[in-house]
Amino acid sequence: MTARKIMLLGEIGVGKSSIARQLVFGHFETRYKPTLGVDVYSYEIEPGLSGGVEPGAKFVIWDTDGNFGDSILSHIYIKEAAAALVVGDLTRQTTLHTMLDLGRGFMNAMPGRYCGFLVNKSDLVDAAAELPPELIQASVPMLRTSAKTGENVKNAFLRAADAIRRRGL
């Protein structure tokens, strides 16, 4: 079975690497180490999960350097990506606006591919924290995540995996 490629996009320091590590290794690292270039993880859906996902499906997760900005959208890294999870930091409003730009950019650059928004660091902010209205209206699937507690992290990837399967990507 060929592995499918999922991109993690978003501004620097929003928690992309922490999300990838929480998903793949099930732990959170408190020490911040910026990603340079790209870190690539492999992830396999464990058997016994329900909800339309394909047990045994394999994914390569590309955790990108936040410094790329929107130039990532024309980079070789993004070639043949089946999905992108665009991450923002709930405690930094600017990163939420960047999410919107990156999400739109990805959907334009890779039509038909799945795109999801992850509003991360939900453990640091009240659940009612305000999101930019345009983010809510963007009709892109969105989840509040916490790489620290693991809230919705696996769920976000399972949603992407299910969409990849349904769309035959």
Partner: protein, 389 residues
């Protein structure tokens, strides 16, 4: 191309200078590859690794697809095969690291070549970490600046919010003072008059008048007490202890209706009543006051109240339409002020509390009624779906 890993020419003694130079070059290549300055991997059209050279690529097994160990090449298979039809083109993957349970591998630059004359593709791998320390420091500084900027923005927003709260609090205080001095003045003055009249009646030994005035005095005292309680209730209405809860709006209205003495008023619900993440207590207080107000001021034995809800995008639009006596247009603005009542029921605080709650959550209220044309009043409130606490 070596047929297996680390295959290089033997270091046999060569006397020819050209051959010596060739041997020296190969030796230099061996030394650099052994020290991880570069690595070479050869793979065939099926992307199966046929040979490798250098310590940097020792993690790549010979005889297996290159994508098995070099997972960043997954998805790029067609791109690699296409290289043969485009001589001179190179596939470059800069600064890629493979992360496994045992740790994060070195950042590598990978370049894949396909030569017309060669059977196999060649991948040249080199470390991408020459400027790593500088890049990390730069990135750390950028992140620190971003964090500081976000903090300044957050503090400014907090300050603006506190200023807005202070303005509202000052407004409330002014309103409270105005009510206390104006609306409570009349009953207090009446108490004074009654005491004078009781004194006069007692001086004249008119016990009957004194008893009557004492009864009126008790009534006025009760009214003042009731007004003070209502004022206290109004002053404390706000979002101080509000928390976001998932509210079944239909169940909420039904609970309120069940808890009120409806008399002859029949209540009907219509529209779509969603579950909503909102502040339950203030929404309940708002709806309770509106429904209670309608029931209290209905002037007939039998009446009808229709409560309908529609989704208006950013807000829920809740309409209460009754067939009561209606409110004359000249009273439309004043009914939302404290202690303004058009009837004899209540203290006239119900709609004032509703107005205050809606101001606090960023909602609106509209009133439509003209008894000269038709009985009934329609009140429409817009309750925002997103509420900032």
């Amino acid at each position: 191309m070596p047929s297996s890993e680390q295959q290089t020419p033997s270091a046999a003694a060569v006397s020819d200078p050209a051959a010596q130079m060739m041997q020296a070059r190969r030796r230099a290549g061996e030394l650099l590859a052994a020290r991880g300055v570069f690595g070479l991997v050869w793979f065939d059209d099926d992307l199966v690794v046929r040979g490798r050279f250098g310590s940097l690529v020792e993690f790549i097994p010979v005889g297996a697809p290159v994508t098995q160990a070099v997972i960043p090449l997954i998805g790029l298979e067609a791109e690699i095969r296409a290289l043969k039809s485009e001589p001179g083109r190179v596939l470059r993957l800069p600064s890629v690291s493979i992360v496994t349970a045992s740790g994060t591998g070195p950042h590598l630059n990978m370049m894949v070549y396909a030569f017309e004359t060669e059977e196999h593709c060649l991948m040249v791998v080199s470390p991408a970490e020459l400027d790593t320390n500088l890049a990390i420091e730069l990135t750390r500084q950028i992140r620190a600046r971003l964090m500081a900027e976000s903090e300044v923005v957050a503090k400014s927003q907090e300050l603006a919010r506190m200023n807005a709260e202070l303005r509202i609090a000052n407004g409330n205080l002014e309103q409270f003072a105005a009510i206390a001095t104006h609306d409570l003045k009349a009953p207090m003055r009446a108490l004074g008059f009654l005491v004078d009249e009781i004194e006069t009646a007692m001086a004249a030994s008119d016990a009957a008048t004194a008893r009557q005035k004492l009864a009126e005095l008790r009534g006025q005292a009760r009214r003042v007490s009731s007004m003070l309680s209502a004022l206290l209730h109004y002053s404390s209405a706000g979002l101080n202890k509000a928390a976001i809860e998932n509210v079944d709006t239909r169940a909420l209205v039904m609970d309120i209706v069940r808890s009120l003495p409806l008399g002859g008023v029949q209540v009907e619900m219509a529209g779509v009543w969603p579950r909503l993440d909102t502040i339950a207590a203030p929404l309940s207080l708002t709806l309770r006051n509106l429904i209670d107000n309608t029931i209290k001021h209905h002037d007939r034995d039998k009446g009808h109240l229709l409560i309908a809800c529609t989704d208006a995008g950013q807000a829920l639009e809740i309409t209460l339409a009754d067939d009561g006596p209606g409110i004359a247009p000249e009273h439309h603005a004043s009914v939302f002020l404290p202690f303004r009542t058009l009837g004899t029921n209540g203290e006239g605080m119900g709609l004032a509390i509703v107005q205050k709650m809606l101001d606090a959550v960023g909602g609106t209220i509209a009133l439509s009624s003209n008894p000269a044309l038709q009985r009934g009043t329609t009140i429409t409130i817009r309750w925002p779906k997103q509420i900032a606490l």
